[in-house]
């Protein structure tokens, strides 16, 4: 057994930064919120570069392998994490809270999530995914929360822990029956042997566990509560970053070791996707909290993604990933804009507090408008590119019912967004807004510039993603 230690460089950098943060916390007296941000920034940047360099190097065959597609997912995880960390620094600076806990858990979470993507052993994958998910409990309880957050975090932990127990049982059973945990062993066993219902059930638990972590209906109940109640940095991190990891894990498991289980569960996934689309769209209409509206939008987006994945092929994975990416970019944009919505130091989230936003902060309101319109798939914005891929894919399979469901979902979701736009643009200003940090404007401009570049020349986005995902389905 030969070990290639270079392949572990990204994880090594994350651990090093984590240890460094702990030392700074212990030994440096004047550690400001910016100190931990600076450390984490360099750690994530180093991990990102190392991922790019060692994208196809494996640490340990059949246990921990980097591939083109796992590196692609990791790259997006690091990029979005870096954006979230940059914006979070503004929050901690303005509130003057210690950022050590937040950045340390983010680094730990990134370590678990990105490592899970390289793991090709179901034991390692599940342990890392579960650990990454359970860590969110500590993130949700970051300083600055209100009373509403504690019951939410408790419920979150309770259900997450229950799932972890289920997953642990399922994985132990699979490993015992198969006689090993590597993806290849499981896939081979499922091909050769008659599969018992117990094995089917265990595979289903693992796949459904991924859906639970993604927050797809009917496992969506924690999503809106957590994203709506957590402090802004935690909300924005949980909104975007883990989605890529759980999506990637779900796809890797579905096309690899649990392909047989996936085939059996296809109708259920199809039903879940339709439920998610409608729960996401209808739920957004019933909310008055902007972050909860966006949380429901995420359920809607993931419903569409799962709809495509329910007929798992090379093209459907590619289309779903493009759609996920453009939607997460827009959702990330909305959350980035939320950092500018402050009144007397308090971050605003209720719609009635945000009326007349366009009058005081025209740029922020315009950016929000662009992101929301993009989420609805309006041309010529980036969301339209995602829509083209989705509908083109569904038309190719003559799945007209799904197209109808998506269109209906968009119309319902549009009603919620129109309400938000009305609040920002048509309503009279009720409260004053604090001056927003320049960094927030910079980040919004950057996201808008990325959207503009991809709209004008989608090849920069599409070609590389297509190439990276090519080897995923054999």
């Amino acid at each position: 057994m030969s070990l290639n230690w270079f392949a572990l460089f990204p994880e090594f950098f994350l651990v090093l930064t984590l240890v460094g943060s702990v030392f700074v916390r212990l030994f440096r007296e004047k550690a400001t919120p910016k100190t931990f941000y600076t450390l984490s920034k360099f750690g994530v940047a180093a991990a990102f570069i190392a991922t790019l360099i060692f994208y196809n190097q494996s640490f340990w065959n059949d246990v921990y392998e980097n591939s083109l597609h796992s590196s692609l997912f990791k790259i997006f995880i690091y990029l979005f994490a870096a954006v979230t960390m940059f914006l979070s620094a503004k929050y901690f600076l303005s509130k003057d809270y210690s950022s050590f806990r937040f950045y340390s858990f983010i680094l730990l979470s990134l370590l678990c999530l990105t490592s899970a993507l390289s793991a090709v052993d179901i034991r390692l994958t599940v342990v890392l995914l579960e650990l990454g998910f359970l860590l969110n409990f500590y993130l949700i309880r970051s300083p600055g929360n209100d009373d509403e957050t504690y019951p939410v975090s408790f419920n979150f932990f309770l259900y997450a822990f229950l799932w972890t127990i289920f997953m642990a049982f399922a994985v132990c059973y699979v490993v015992r029956i198969v006689g090993g945990g590597s993806f290849e062993d499981i896939a081979m066993y499922c091909k050769v042997h008659q599969i018992t219902w117990q094995l089917y059930a265990c595979g289903a638990i693992v796949l459904l566990g991924c859906l639970y972590k993604l927050g797809v209906a009917p496992f969506h109940f924690w999503t809106a509560d957590v994203l709506g109640a957590a402090i802004l940095p935690v909300g924005s991190y949980l909104m975007i970053v883990p989605v890529f990891a759980y999506y990637a894990a779900f796809v890797q498991l579905s096309v690899g070791p649990l392909a047989v289980h996936f085939d059996l569960l296809k109708p259920a996934f199809y039903a879940f996707s339709l439920i998610s689309i409608f729960i996401g769209a209808i739920g957004a209409n019933g909310e008055i909290n902007l972050r909860r509206i966006m949380a429901y939008s995420r359920i809607f987006v993931l419903g569409i993604v799962l709809l495509l994945l329910s007929s798992i092929t090379q093209i459907s994975i590619f289309s779903s990933f493009i759609y996920l990416l453009v939607s997460m970019l827009a959702l990330g944009g909305v959350f980035a804009a939320c950092y500018a919505l402050k009144n007397k130091g308090d971050y605003l989230r209720r719609l009635n507090e945000l009326s007349g936003l366009a009058e005081s902060k025209p740029f922020i309101a315009a950016a929000m408008l662009i992101f929301m319109v993009s989420l609805l798939g309006f041309p010529p914005l980036l969301g339209f590119l995602g829509m083209v891929f989705i509908v083109d894919n569904l038309v190719a399979y003559q799945d007209y019912v799904s197209i109808f469901a998506i269109m209906l979902g968009i119309v319902i979701l549009a009603a919620a967004y129109l309400r938000v736009i009305k609040t920002f643009y048509f309503d009279v200003k009720r409260s004053n807004f604090d001056r927003a940090d320049r960094g927030i404007y910079f980040m919004l401009l950057l996201i808008l510039a990325v959207i503009l570049v991809f709209v004008l020349s989608p090849k920069y986005l599409v070609n590389d993603v297509e190439m990276a995902l090519r080897g995923l389905v054999s």
């Binding site: 366009a358 025209p362 408008l369 319109v373 309006f378 041309p379 010529p380 339209f384 590119l385 829509m387 083209v388 891929f389 509908v391 083109d392 038309v395 190719a396 007209y400 197209i403 109808f404 269109m407 968009i410 119309v411 549009a414 009603a415 129109l418 309400r419 736009i421 009305k422 643009y425 048509f426 989608p458 090849k459 599409v462 070609n463 297509e466």
Partner: protein
């Protein structure tokens, strides 16, 4: 002739205007003048480019020229193709002139002028893209994208009392757009790639598929025209708008529906969808008559103008469904004059209504004390009725005679509706010109000399287009 990418210029120039508008100072001191100048100049320069483009195209209908293509996506392959013929250029010119009149009408209303001009220029850019789209994807992109500036303009500046109506209007339009998107993607997939608008009728599909797709397209285009049974959602919004520029923009939307029917709907229709056309004719004439009668009994001038416009739009729609391409250019000529007429009328009405509100006057006899406005208003109303003052005169005759030849009953009902709206407009004109005494300190003020000059210039354009707006192309 220099090799100018005209279409790209038509689309990008308003976007450049937006950039300059964003950069220009808009505060208490400038009172929106900078932004207004940028918008006005942008529209003027685009008009100059359109006239310049006319020199490079032949005057026949349907011969697409100045074609440009841009590869947007490799897989699935999407090539955005653009091109124009004299018909689409004429509509572009008409829309530019209408918006120019609208911008002139709001030049003194400096509150939030920047946002207003930005959304107007965005709308203009998207309309230009829509009118020059040659393939179904680019056509759809601009067809849908137009909704956003429209919604923002109506919501922010329309001063609509019932905002729920605006949401229903938007959702209703969105439903139409999504139906079109589904149909476009099915057509695109069926053809395994780019599909030009003029090739759609050649596509052969199964009977059920054909019916579903054409019905979706039909409903999508219909959603832009205030036609029964959805007319009330559109009319609540369109007739409730107080700002002249926003009113003009909102009432240009039905034009997108008519233009879509003209470009998309095949002249040689598959047998499976013939019934759709019959259905359209029936609901069109019902809507025309219904809206014309409401316009006649309604006392609100905004509604009268709205009903006047809607009846004419449906009339042009019926004209475009005649089984011959010959009259389509006539539809274009009439539409060109029509857009200019209703825009000028709306600006004049808005001026009068402002005077009325400010000085608490009744509408009766208001024009007696406004000789300049009265003369132009009278000219425009008569031109709108189809008297020999604009291109509507000859071309409406051609359309009516075409309808009489192909469908006598439809033509008779359409004529009745036209007479009703004409009566409504004449009734309003005479009411406003009836001699009434006003107290000396409360007399309405006339429009300025500059306003009058501008509007007479517009009237001159109308007069020049009397027989054929493309006279300058024929030497």
């Amino acid at each position: 002739m220099p090799n100018i990418p005209f279409i790209l210029v038509f689309i990008l120039l308003p976007l450049c205007g937006i950039f300059f508008a964003l950069c220009s100072q808009d505060n208490e001191k400038t009172k929106g003048r900078n932004v207004l100048s940028v918008a006005f100049l942008t529209v003027l320069v685009n008009i100059a480019f359109i006239i310049f483009a006319f020199l490079s195209v032949s005057s026949e209908y349907g011969k697409m020229q100045l074609q440009e293509s841009y590869l947007w996506l490799k897989n699935p392959k999407i090539v955005l193709s653009f091109g124009v013929d004299s018909f689409s250029l004429l509509l572009m010119l008409g829309i530019h002139l209408a918006l120019l009149i609208g911008i002139w009408g709001v030049r003194k209303d400096y509150l939030f002028q920047k946002s207003r001009m930005i959304f107007t220029l965005l709308f203009l850019s998207l309309v230009n893209g829509f009118l020059s789209a040659l393939d179904i994807i680019s056509f759809f992109i601009f067809f849908e994208a137009m909704l956003i500036p429209l919604f923002m303009l109506i919501g922010m500046f329309g001063e609509i009392k019932r905002q729920a109506g605006l949401f229903r209007f938007m959702i209703y339009n969105l439903c139409g757009v999504l139906l079109l998107f589904s149909a476009v993607m099915i057509l695109y997939n069926h053809n395994h790639g780019a599909l030009m608008l003029n090739q759609i009728s050649d596509i052969k599909m199964g009977q059920v598929k054909e019916i579903v797709i054409w019905s979706a397209i039909f409903l999508a285009f219909l959603s832009r025209i205030p036609i029964w049974p959805f007319h009330s959602w559109v009319s609540v919004v369109s007739s409730g708008i107080k700002n002249p520029l926003v009113f003009i923009v909102a009432n240009l939307m039905p034009l997108s529906g008519i233009y879509s029917f003209i470009r998309f709907w095949p002249q040689s229709m598959p047998n499976t969808i013939i019934f759709v056309v019959t259905a359209l004719e029936i609901i069109s004439v019902i809507s025309m008559l219904f809206i014309a009668l409401i316009g006649l009994i309604n006392k609100d001038i905004q509604y009268k103008i709205f009903s006047f416009m809607t009846v004419y739009y449906i009339f042009f729609l019926l004209g475009s469904f005649l089984p011959t391409d010959q009259v389509l250019l006539n539809v274009g000529f009439s539409l060109f004059a029509f857009m200019i007429i209703f825009s000028t009328l709306e600006v004049l009405v808005s001026f009068q209504e402002e005077e009325r509100t400010e000085k608490n006057l009744s509408a009766e006899g208001i024009l007696c004390k406004m000789p300049r406005a009265s003369a132009i208003f009278t000219f425009m109303v008569f031109a709108g009725l189809g008297l020999p003052l604009s291109a509507m005169f000859v071309n409406n005759f051609v359309l009516v005679s075409g309808l009489l030849v192909y469908n006598f009953n439809t033509a008779m009902v359409a004529l009745a509706a036209l007479i009703f709206v004409a009566s409504a407009m004449v009734q309003e004109l005479f009411m406003r010109r009836t001699k009434v005494e006003f107290s000396i300190d409360n007399e309405p003020t006339d429009i300025s000399k500059l306003d009058a000059c501008f509007m007479w210039l517009i009237a001159a354009v109308l007069l020049m287009s009397l027989s054929d707006p493309l006279w300058f192309m024929r030497g």
